[in-house]
């Protein structure tokens, strides 16, 4: 006999308890040295104004505005006495949860460092005479308690079949996306309408929007260069299409041919993604720049002066395609593997030959994957800022324009905001077009029946072009990386080509003293910080991304489209804008994060989450829903189903999300450069600093080290997550290094 389910009750009691404990025992406000330094944990921290929990602040007669939270915490206590099905249970929880949460937010925004934040409240109530700092863990836990008590109430009223886990997850994702995506963007967009004097003005916005630098078409008649908006769009479409094709080519070689060295190919295609983007830009300059090796060689061959042809569209396009093809590959490999072999076998028994099968069945079934890959390439290109910075020349794109609008001499936040709006419009347009293309067709191919078929090999007509493209691209990648490694051992590129270890020694020297190891190299600080931040943010990113994907694919709820839009939005925002908007939004209470490691982690989570979501959606829509349903009818709840059934089948997607978010956290530069602090300096910003000092040798040596470290990490992750075993007849694929 199946025992009565207590889980709903358990999570309710847990969050209620958490709320009370936090209110009475956990420091309410943020602590300068960090919560986990545990410096605050002394015998009398309860009575120390800096560390006191909310209740003891009240006892000391401070921060009276925290008092109304107490009744909101007390109300759910009544619910302990009610049955789950009692309408009062739901009603009280919703009331307490929503009320408490809303009040917490409201007081946070009305009372700040200087007392009242809002003018009319000061004139209404008089000066406050007290102030409050950024919220700390006490406030965080109480806020979470209110949130989940609220979702508990919503679920008890029967929303989403009364599923506590699903409603709670929806609530959580909406809340954090609201705080860390919409709130900064709104702060940012408000700036688009602010003129020099700080007042709001539509004219200012329009004049900035209609700028010729943005929409000019001068390049068509050859008089001058085109506007940044057109450049970005053109570049992004090219990059999206090329990366998708190349990604598909590699996915096909790995899964559908007799090619024996598949694991090397996998490793090779992963190389560019673990490389900080500007490094590829640098390598391309070393090859094709004014004094680049290849450029000089060819110019001498034809007896001409070397030119700067690579700066501009060709160079940026080249670098971006190199950098983003692996993303398309990572997305597409799961999809290509996921196409049910029996579909293809069915087509072949229906007298389609291999080529016809490929065109009429395999390719159409991969449409969601192809669309996702294109979308990722498009958005990545739009948001990329490292490569246009290094290789752009006169080819202005939106992301660099935004950067210069804020960092450059202009310091025009309004202009940056307007440019960001245009960028957003493009990426959202691509997003909408993708939905339109996929339409309402079903792409479910993995049913609950064990599939025992085999993928057909690629038809010969396709195999040869696919092989040659893959070979050329691989060769090229090898050359690029050879240049990088070689460059790290060269004294001074192009001037003094003697080989040396000196760059590595400067960065990573170690001394063994009596009391242990001394990390004397100049790069160690930023190196450990980077590893730490990346290791914290990768699993969080993957978790949030996959839970979101699960909600989007498997659950139906009101406002789902808005929900999807919200979770994908952060991807459409270039890192530069995230950096600036985070500084604007989180520099002051109620949420004060600048200068901490948390802001870096948070920025990575929300910047990389859409990849996890996309990968999750693509793989999950290939798992038949009857698998979840049978798990539910066997007595597992939706959380257990998610853990035991969905996640194991999603291993490729998990791997993609983990690897991608870890690597992106280590290689990202655009957002990071605004958010680093003396204490939390990241590898990439340190490298950029070296580049600015013309210390190319050290920069390249550090980059090479990063690449090696990430290779090891990626390999380890692949070992841990492993490959899903579903069919005895699929040929065993060795775990790639």
């Amino acid at each position: 006999m199946r025992p009565a389910k207590k889980s709903t009750r358990r999570s309710f009691v847990f969050w209620l308890l958490a709320g009370w404990v936090a209110y009475f025992l956990v420091p309410w406000y943020g602590i300068e040295d960090g919560f986990f330094s545990l410096e605050w944990l002394s015998a009398d921290y309860l009575w120390d104004s800096d560390y006191a929990p909310a209740f003891f602040l009240l006892l000391m007669g401070e921060k009276w505005w925290l008092a109304p939270l107490l009744p909101a915490l007390a109300l759910p206590l009544l619910c302990l006495r009610f049955e789950h099905s009692d309408p009062r249970y739901a009603k009280f929880l919703i009331l307490a949860g929503a009320g408490g949460f809303a009040y917490l937010i409201a007081q946070g925004f009305t009372i700040g460092l200087q007392g009242w934040q809002v003018g009319w409240m000061e004139s209404l109530f008089g000066p406050l005479g007290d102030r409050q700092f950024g919220m700390g863990y006490g406030a965080l836990i109480v806020a979470s308690a209110f949130l989940f008590l609220f979702t508990e109430g919503i679920a008890a009223r029967g929303a989403v079949n009364g599923d506590v886990f699903v409603v709670g997850s929806i609530g959580l994702v909406i809340t954090i996306v609201g705080i860390f995506v919409f709130f900064p963007i709104v702060q940012m967009l408000i700036n688009a309408f602010i003129d020099q004097d700080g007042s709001y003005s539509l004219v200012v916005f329009l004049s900035k929007f209609a700028d010729r630098n943005l929409w000019g078409l001068g390049c068509l008649d050859g008089t001058r260069s085109c506007g940044a908006a057109w450049n970005s769009l053109f570049l992004a479409v090219l990059v999206g299409a090329l990366t998708t094709v190349l990604g598909l080519v590699f996915a096909l070689v790995v899964t559908r041919t007799d090619f024996k060295q598949k694991q090397w190919l996998r490793a090779l295609t992963v190389l560019p993604v673990i490389t900080p983007p500007f490094v590829i830009g640098l390598a391309i300059i070393l090859l094709f720049g004014l004094s680049g090796t290849v450029n000089v060689f060819i110019a001498e061959l034809f007896g001409q002066q070397p030119t700067r042809w690579v700066y501009g569209l060709p160079g940026v396009l080249f670098a971006q395609v190199l950098a983003f093809t692996p993303i398309a590959f990572l997305v597409l490999i799961g999809v290509v593997e996921g196409v049910s072999p029996s579909m293809e076998e069915a087509a072949q028994t229906l007298r389609a030959n291999r080529l016809q099968t490929f065109w009429t069945v395999t390719l159409p079934l991969m449409r969601p994957g192809l669309a996702n890959a294109f979308l990722l390439g498009f958005i990545e290109s739009m948001a990329d800022f490292g490569n246009p910075l290094v290789l752009g020349g006169n080819f202005d794109v939106l992301s660099t324009e935004i950067f210069f609008a804020i960092v450059g001499a202009q310091y025009d936040q309004g202009r940056a905001a307007v440019l960001a709006l245009v960028l957003l419009a493009f990426t959202l347009g691509a997003f909408w077009a993708q939905r339109f293309w996929l339409g309402k067709k079903s792409y479910t191919t993995m049913t609950g029946k064990g599939d025992s078929g085999m993928h057909p090999k690629l038809p010969k007509v396709l195999a040869y072009p696919v092989y040659s493209v893959a070979a050329i691209w691989t060769l090229f990648t090898i050359v690029i990386y050879a240049m990088i490694v070689f460059g790290s051992f060269v004294e001074l590129w192009g001037v003094n080509n003697t080989l040396t270890f000196k760059h590595y020694l400067t960065a990573f020297s170690v001394k063994f003293a009596e009391n242990g190891v001394l990390w004397t190299g100049s790069a160690w600080d930023s190196f450990w910080t980077t590893i730490q931040i990346a290791a914290i943010s990768a699993p969080l990113t993957a978790a949030i991304g996959l839970v979101t994907a699960y909600l989007l694919v498997r659950q139906n709820f009101a406002g789902k489209n808005m929900f999807e839009f919200g979770t994908m939005l952060s991807f459409a925002i270039p890192g530069t804008v995230i950096g600036v908007s985070y500084i604007l939004a989180f520099n002051v209470p109620p949420i004060e994060l600048t200068g901490t490691g948390i802001i870096l982690v948070v920025s990575f989570i929300f910047r990389n989450m859409p990849v996890g979501v996309r990968a999750g959606i693509a793989s999950m829509s290939q798992i038949d829903k009857s698998l979840d349903e049978s798990s539910l009818t066997l007595g597992a709840n939706s959380w257990q189903t998610f853990i035991r059934v969905i996640l194991p089948l999603l291993r490729p997607a998990i791997l993609a999300a983990l690897v991608y978010s870890f690597v992106r956290a280590m290689t990202a530069i655009s957002a990071v450069i605004f958010l680093v602090s003396a204490e939390y300096n990241m590898a990439t910003s340190y490298i950029i600093g070296r580049v600015e000092n013309n210390d190319y040798g050290l920069a390249i040596a550090y980059s090479t080290t990063l690449i090696v470290v990430m290779l090891i990490v990626v390999g380890l992750m692949q070992l841990i997550v492993g490959k899903r075993v579903l069919s005895r007849r699929s040929d065993p694929v060795p775990v790639p290094a």
Partner: protein
């Protein structure tokens, strides 16, 4: 239910419970009524089949019992408990899916253990129960295989074992045999029936195959266009269908338009062409009515028998154990079968058509 029967069932499965629908409606979107105001009761320990053509609402009904769909209106009771708003997890119901829905990443044993782990059993007990379940369906020794390493029939048994080991209040089958070949289908359906009777399970079974339904059920609920067309024992449905739909869907039936002359002592006096019949009135009044006759209850005789219908044989087909006749009457064409394979009638012959004594039945609707 007598006290003795109740006790018997407690020995078998203490958990088997009844299922009751009280005015249940399911609306998809704004206006698509998949199930329209259905009331019915499945007694504990019985096997009830939901039978009907595709799109009639039978699967939706099943999924509402499972808790995979929520009723838009009405109440659903399992045992004495109102489960209308409970999700699948919290109902003590398990289901065998049409696609089997075996978890492809788990071994057979892990699949069967899956639900047990969430039922509060100790680890050792889970193992034992799962092995018992596999033995019960004849898959001893297959525990370590992956689902993809089993044949379709074996996969089906795993799916049954997985649902069975939980000893649920209600066990649901969604067209469980549709992916099996004909011979296997017959065998598996007998096995399911045997397990159900031996363990005293409450089973709700969805199918569109009337023969399967007749073979396994204690009771059949025929559905059409989102409502119940008829609810009764297999024999009742076959012998006394309520309407043209049921008459034709369960077995085949020839429908005759006839005239009830009068009703006397619950018997209807009927005129059909030259034929006079006296049949139970089934609540009908004098006036035009419909009469259903099974193909095997039609008797042929050489032309010219008084008080019969004149017919012309269009076609005679020999199908091994019986003959099939296609007969043209004045008003309609009918279909008859005869187990007398030594044909004395050839196509083109004129014949007299009459009905066997227990053959014709009036259709009340």
């Amino acid at each position: 239910m007598s006290k003795q029967e109740t006790m018997d069932q407690q020995k078998k499965n203490q958990n088997a419970a009844s299922v009751e629908f009280d005015g249940v409606t399911k609306v998809y979107g704004k206006s698509v009524r998949a199930v329209d105001n259905i009331s019915m009761k499945v007694e504990a320990g019985t096997l009830v089949t939901l039978l009907g053509p595709s799109g009639c609402g039978k699967t939706t009904t099943l999924r509402m019992i499972a808790g995979l769909e929520m009723a838009t209106q009405g109440r659903i009771l399992i045992g004495d408990r109102d489960v209308t708003t409970l999700p699948a997890t919290q109902r003590d119901v398990s289901m065998v899916f049409q696609s089997y829905a075996l978890f492809p990443h788990m071994s057979v044993l892990e699949n069967v253990s899956y639900g047990l782990k969430y039922s509060g059993h100790a680890k050792k007990e889970v193992r034992e129960l799962a092995h018992d379940g596999l033995n019960l369906v004849g898959l001893k020794g297959y525990g370590d295989r992956l689902p993809s390493e089993l044949s379709g029939g074996q996969q089906q048994r795993v799916a049954v074992a997985r649902a069975l080991v939980l000893e649920p209040q209600v066990l649901l089958f969604d067209e469980p045999l549709s992916n099996l070949d004909a011979k296997l289908r017959r065998r598996v359906r007998e096995e399911i029936r045997e397990i159900q009777t031996n363990l005293g399970l409450t089973v709700v079974y969805v199918t569109h195959d009337q023969e399967e339904a007749l073979a396994v059920s204690d009771r059949i609920i025929v559905m059409n266009n989102a409502v119940i067309a008829q609810d009764g024992a297999p024999r009742d449905l076959y012998d006394a269908p309520n309407n043209t739909f049921v008459a034709d869907f369960i077995g085949e039936a020839n429908i005759f338009e006839c005239e009830i002359d009068k009703i006397f002592k619950d018997e209807a006096y009927i005129t059909l062409g030259d034929m006079q019949l006296i049949l139970p009135d089934r609540g009908l009044k004098a006036g035009p009515a419909s009469l259903a006759v099974r193909p095997n209850r039609i008797i042929l005789a050489p032309a010219g028998v008084p008080g019969s219908l004149k017919g012309h044989l269009k076609k005679v087909t020999y199908v091994g154990n019986h003959l099939e006749y296609f007969i043209e009457l004045e008003k309609s064409d009918i279909f008859a079968v005869s187990s007398d394979v030594n044909a004395i009638y050839k196509s083109g012959d004129d014949v007299s058509v009459s009905f066997a004594a227990s053959g014709p039945v009036l259709l009340p609707e």
